[in-house]
Structure formats: C-alpha cells, structure tokens
Amino acid sequence: MLSSVPHRLRTRAATAALSSAVLLAASACAVANSDGAGDAGAADGSTLRIVLAEEPPTLEPCESSLTSTGVVVRSNISEPLVERDPSTGDLDPLLSTGWRQTSPTTWTFDIRTGVTFHDGAPFTAEDAAFSIDRAVNSDLACNVDGYVFEDEELGVEATSPTSLTVTTAKPDPILPLRISFVEIVPRGTSTENKVREPVGTGPYALTGWQTGVSISLKRNESYWGEQPAFPFARYVWRSESSVRAAMIAKGEADLSTGLDPEDATEENSIAYPNNETTALRLDGTQAPLDDIRVRKAIGMAIDRKAIADTLFDGLAEPAAQLVPDGVVGYNPELTSQPPQREEAKRLVDAARADGVPTDRQITLVARNGQFPRVSETAEALQYQLGELGLNVRILMSDTAAHLEYQLRPFPEGAGPVALLIMHGNQAGDAAFTTSQYLLSDGPQSTFGTQELDERIAEAGELAGPQRQDAFADVLAYQNEQVAQYAYLAHMRGLLGIADSVEYEPNSATGDELRLAAVQPVKGQGR
C-alpha cells in the first residue's frame, strides 16, 4: 500500500513524522521557564515540601504581617526579637533574651549573643535598632508600620552591642508585643526599596525564588538554635484546593495550607482555629444602614449556626464579636444568639414608619476566594436579609476591587454597602482590631462614635486584667450602641498534611508556618 504513495507525499509524511518526534522529544526534556524548580521537590525525606494557595506577593520581612508573606518568611527566614506563643499568648524570648519597661515610655531589650545572619555577619543591637527604624520610621510604607504601630514614630537606640532601648511618645504597655512583628534584617538592607530576597537569622536561608514557580530554602547550618529536621524546604503554589489535596494524597507535598472542606479528609488534613472572624461591615453613613435599628435587625436576622453547620461544614463557631477566644479583650459574655426574625422585622418596620428608606438597595460586597463557599454565604445572607424586607444585591469582586470597599477612602456613590469581611487578629490583642475596625476614622471602619473612640483610647493605655476588661467593655459597647458589624463566625482552617510528617497546627499556623516545628515521621527523614 505504501509503495503506491507518491514519493513527494512520502517525503512530506516523513518530514512531518520527524518534526513531530523532535517536538515531542524536546518537550519531554524540560518545560520552559521551570528551571528545574516547578514541583515540590523529591520525596526523599530531605526536602520539606509545602504547597500554598497563592504565591507570596513579596518576601520583604517588614511585610510579614501579610498572611501570604508571613507564612514563608516569619520565623523561617527572619526572626523577631520576641515571639508570641499562640497557645498561651505569652511572649517568649527569641533574638532578645529579656526585656523590661525602664521608664513609662521606654523599654529595654537584651540582645542575644552568638547569632549570625545568613550572610555570616554577626547580629548585634545595632541591627535590631536598624530593623525597627527601617520598618517603622522609614518611608518604605511597610504594613507593619500602620497595622501594628499605628504610624507612631519610635525612638530606637543601641546603647551597647547587647542592649537596645525603644522609646514611645506615650506609655505603651504592649510595646514588646508590637515588637514581635518586626523581623530583624542586617544593617545595610535597603531603606529605600523593599527587598526581594531577604537575609535573616532564621533556621532557613532563601536559596531561590523563581517567580510563578517556586521558592527554595536551605537549612541554616550556623543557626543559633536547634537545627530543623529537614535540610531543605520548597514552596510551590496551586490555586485549586483539590489539586493541593491531591498533592498531599499522592505524597507530592507534605503540607498544604487552606484546604477547602470538600477536599479534606480525616487522613489528609487537620482543622485548627485560625483566628479569623467573618462579619458584615455595615456602612452607617448611608440610609437605611445609618439607622441603628436596621443594623441591629441585620445582626438579629442572620442564622449563624445554619451557615456554620452547612456552608462551613461545622468548621466554624457562630460569632458575637470581632475577636475569638484567646485574644486579649475577648468578651465571654457576648454569645451568639439564634435568629430573632420577628424582633428584627419589628425593628425594620419601625424604622420604615419613621421614614427610613428601608427599600433602598444595599450592596453586599464579597470577594471571590475569601473563604470556602463565599458566594453561597453571600446568597444565604441576601435571602435572610430579604426576609426582613431589605433590598440586597450581591457584588462579587476580586481582591483589588474588594480593597476599594474595605479601606478608606471608600468609593464615592456606592450607596449603602454591607461588606463581607474576614478579620484575623494575629497579635492576640483587641487593640489591633479596634484601631482598624472600630475607631471613627479607622482605616477599615466606616463610622464610629466619640464615646467609642474614647473608650478604645483608654483601654489601650491599660495593662493586665484591666486591659482585658476594658477591651471586653469596648466590644460590648460596639454591639449595643454602634452595631457597625453583624457577625458570622469564628473560622477554622484546614491544613493538609501527608503521613510523611508530623506537625501540630495552632492558631498562628495560617500566618506563620514554622518549618522547624515540622518533623519527619520516624524513619522517613534525614
């Protein structure tokens, strides 16, 4: 049969076959732009393989309060002077061996000796002073500056190679807690630009970051503390939860952050409280949300238990405040109530009778990927608020658009907005919540009252049990007299974990996944 095919045709066929073979062979060799670094690493027990939901936007240490950055950088590549124990809330020594308040506005830190940076330079108090000054007082515009230090200027001085003083404008009883957010970098690190490849003192050093593909770390053999079990670590990212779960199931990754409930099984995941609280932020400057009866009615109408049990698969606790248990200021007397629809409807009817335009359309803004089943949650809320006679439309947005509604200055002409937020208090103190979400001019607050502002300011100057009580009162006052938030739930995260490693997640795991705390299962590590 082939002999009957003309010579020219056979030549073409041979050429096509040859080119196909060459192309396929070339393809089999390597994928362009992968540089041999696109998978999570070999399953030989020497590399700890982590698959993230997204690529970190930056590895700049002063941006470690960003979840996607902190999960890689904090306490892995760089370290702070002190660290907060997520289980007890106590502060533990790290690069500082001790600290004390030496005057109402001054704290003194003792600096650990015998510590070196990844580049071999010794760590001294000068480096600590430089790092704090860089993160808080420079023009770098670090998140830690505004979120943790509320844009306060600090006086920082290395009084000796092993002693550092930090001075505040007014007494700050939780300054060491704030300092725990400052990652230490060596002097000479740019103060004009954020760094892409950080140098720190942590148990792992960065060896490569191939944009879009992977981040590789190597164990710091001169680490001052206990050596981590794994010589290498590698992060990759897959946006699909099902793919991350599949990588855990197949043994292609050891740990995975942020699994969706439908992808998690008892064998491949562990649930843990992640300090995140979901709520609707109600814009009290726009009718009908400017009427406290309408705002309270929204809070009463939400069936939190139904949402937590069904949409969140039981991985959440109905909430009655913006911070979870374990955070200083948490008010145990504020408990979630079953929906009170009749009373809620009565409040809306009363507002309508007083001329409040309760039929004005409210925009419920939510973000795609904010948490599992976010669009279904928005629809449930829309239905439950609709039962009150409120007119709610849903606007699903991406991160950038959601931020426009989340942060001041808010979009003009947007009308009444109910913003679905998820707030994580990483620091363990309600001050970090109230300054952002409750103050009248808080960056993420739409309104407030003078009395609430004064209560927040007074609580912020207290320490110990008085501080706890004062912030608990602030949270109760917000619910009773301001009602800017209608709460949903305190969330729980799902960590994917393969049977090759042992790790006990805690409330900080989502923000700070300490690789040194991960151990190989006996017989599998090196």
């Binding site: 049969m1 003309p6 696109g38 515009a141 593909v213 793919v243 950038a400």
Partner: protein, 309 residues
C-alpha cells in the same frame, strides 16, 4: 504574493492596535492599584506619592502617550509586583505556553486527520459513528472538569501521573496536554470528517479512481488536499486560542506560562506586565494569522487571485 501579503498585514495590524489600546484603557478602568501595593493604613500622601511614581496620577491620554513612547524603545516598564522588567517576565513565560500549544496542536491535527479521514472513508460505518460520538463528547467536555478528574483519577487513584508541576520526564506533559487537546481534537475530527466526506464524493475523486489511482493516493493525495482549507481555518483559530494563554491548564497544573502570568497580572493590577503580555500574544496572533493566510494562498490559487494588485 507580495501584494497579497501587504494587504493581509495591513488588515491584520488594525485589530492588533485596537487590542493593545483597549487593554491599556480597560486595565486602568479597574482602578488604581494603590490599595494592593500600599499598607492598609497608608496616608493620602503615601498614596499620592505611589500614584505619581508610577504615573497613575496623569490623565489617561498622557499615560498612553508615555507608554507608546516606551514601547517604541522596547521598554515595557517594570512589574509593580516583582520589580522585574515586564518584558523579561513575559518573554520567560511565553515559551512554556508555546511548547504546550505546539505539541497539543500537532497531536490534534495529525490525530484528527487520521481519524477524520478514516471516518469519512466509510460514512455511517461503526468506525464513523464511534469517532463522531467520541469527538463530539470530547468537544463538549469542560476543560476545567477534565483537568480535575484527570488529577484525581490518574494522579491520585491510579498513581501513574504527577498531579501537577513541570519537573520530570514526559509524564508531566500528559495531563496538561490531554486537557488542552480534548476540545481541539474533538472539533478537528468533526471538521476533517465533514470536509473529507464532501471531497471524497467530488467528481475529481471519481476521475482519479477511474484512472486507477490507489486508495491512499485518492484519500491523501487528492481528497485531503482539497479538504484542507476548512481544517486550516479551524485549526488556526484553535491554535490562536491556545497561544492566547491556556489559562485553565496553567493555573491548575502550575504551568509557568503566559496565561497564568496574565491572570496574576490582572488580579494584581500589574499593568506593565499585563500590557506586555497582551502585546506579545497579540503580535504572535498577528503573525499566526499572516501565516495562515499565506497557507491559504499557497493551497488555493483562487485566494491569491482574489486580492487585486
């Protein structure tokens, strides 16, 4: 031929310019990226400084003029996200997508020609009906679903393929290519079959057979050449779709191509990278269109003659 090419280049260049301008303007309508790149508590002064540093405070026409001036010098700006050159980022990512697209289309075209021709050779036979059913099914399967099922079945349950990633031997290519392949393959089998059925019943085929030409020569030498035009049209469109970024495949399998880069750039409001990516893909599509038109002209003299000098 020169006249034909000149006309085609001019007519194809207009959409190229429209796309590039459209992306520039539409990207900016999504808002200022300041909220994504500055701290939550950034002051108005910091926001203004960020906007000024990146030119976002200028009227859009001024921004466009500056951009075009840079493009002429092959300067595509810097990524807001990484600080890297946008042009370099795009050029690094594009080959990975081209590799996927090329291998996929090669397999799709060769396979579709063989199976479509076989089906057309014996219309309504078991082979024809089977290939029609399978090709229509393939063309109808959502790629997202197919990819996830492929990961679960072949990656996890059977354990014979990696779930994702790009490092390894030929096995890392299987699921991404299978996912990309399924729709073009299904569509092309249908197109080849339809064209070949018409071609095989044409008078010149009967003449060829009456002259004693062998069946392979009749099918591949006479019918297939005349059935190629519609196949070329559809294959060209499908190739353009793949080059434009195999977004789903690249996202699911962690493939470092231009589709994923574009999606990330959109979500991060990384305008410089987005513009560079769109410009490069638009130019590639422009070139592909020219090549397809040249193929038309080479295959069919009527096309060449239809373009007046």
């Amino acid at each position: 031929m020169t006249t034909f090419l000149r006309k085609r280049i001019v007519s194809s260049a207009i959409p190229l310019v429209v796309v590039v301008l459209g992306v520039f303007v539409l990207a900016r309508l999504t808002g200022n990226p300041v909220d994504l790149y500055l701290p939550l508590s950034a002051t108005p002064e910091q926001r203004a400084a960020f906007s000024a540093a990146n030119g976002f405070d200028q009227p859009i026409l001024v921004q466009l003029w500056d951009y075009l001036g840079q493009v002429v010098q092959l300067d595509f700006g810097e990524s807001l996200r990484t600080g890297q050159s946008a042009g370099e980022m795009v050029l690094e990512a594009f080959p990975a997508t081209l590799q996927l697209a090329a291998v996929t289309m090669l397999i799709a075209i060769v396979g579709a020609v063989l199976i479509g021709s076989l089906a057309a050779y014996r219309p309504n036979s078991l082979a024809d009906r089977t290939s029609s059913f399978l090709s229509m099914t393939a063309a109808s399967i959502p790629d997202f679903w197919f990819a996830i099922m492929g990961v679960l079945v072949f990656g996890v349950s059977l354990g014979i393929l990696p779930t994702s990633g790009v490092v390894g031997g030929p096995e890392v290519w299987v699921l991404p290519i299978a996912t990309l392949l399924i729709r073009p393959f299904g569509v092309l089998v249908q197109v080849v079959r339809g064209s070949m059925v018409a071609a095989l019943s044409a008078p010149y085929v009967k003449v060829a057979r009456s002259k004693g030409a062998s069946e392979p020569r009749v099918v591949f030498g006479h019918a297939l050449r005349n059935a190629t035009m519609p196949v070329l049209t559809v294959a060209g469109d499908l190739t353009i779709g793949l080059v434009n970024g195999a977004v789903v495949v690249e996202t699911i399998f962690g493939w470092p191509g231009i589709g994923k880069l574009m999606i990330d750039s959109i979500l991060q409001r990384d305008f410089a990278v987005l513009q560079a990516a769109v410009l490069l893909t638009a130019v590639t599509i422009f070139v592909l269109n020219i090549l397809i038109d040249v193929c038309y002209a080479l295959l069919d003299a009527r096309v060449r003659q239809a373009v007046p000098a």
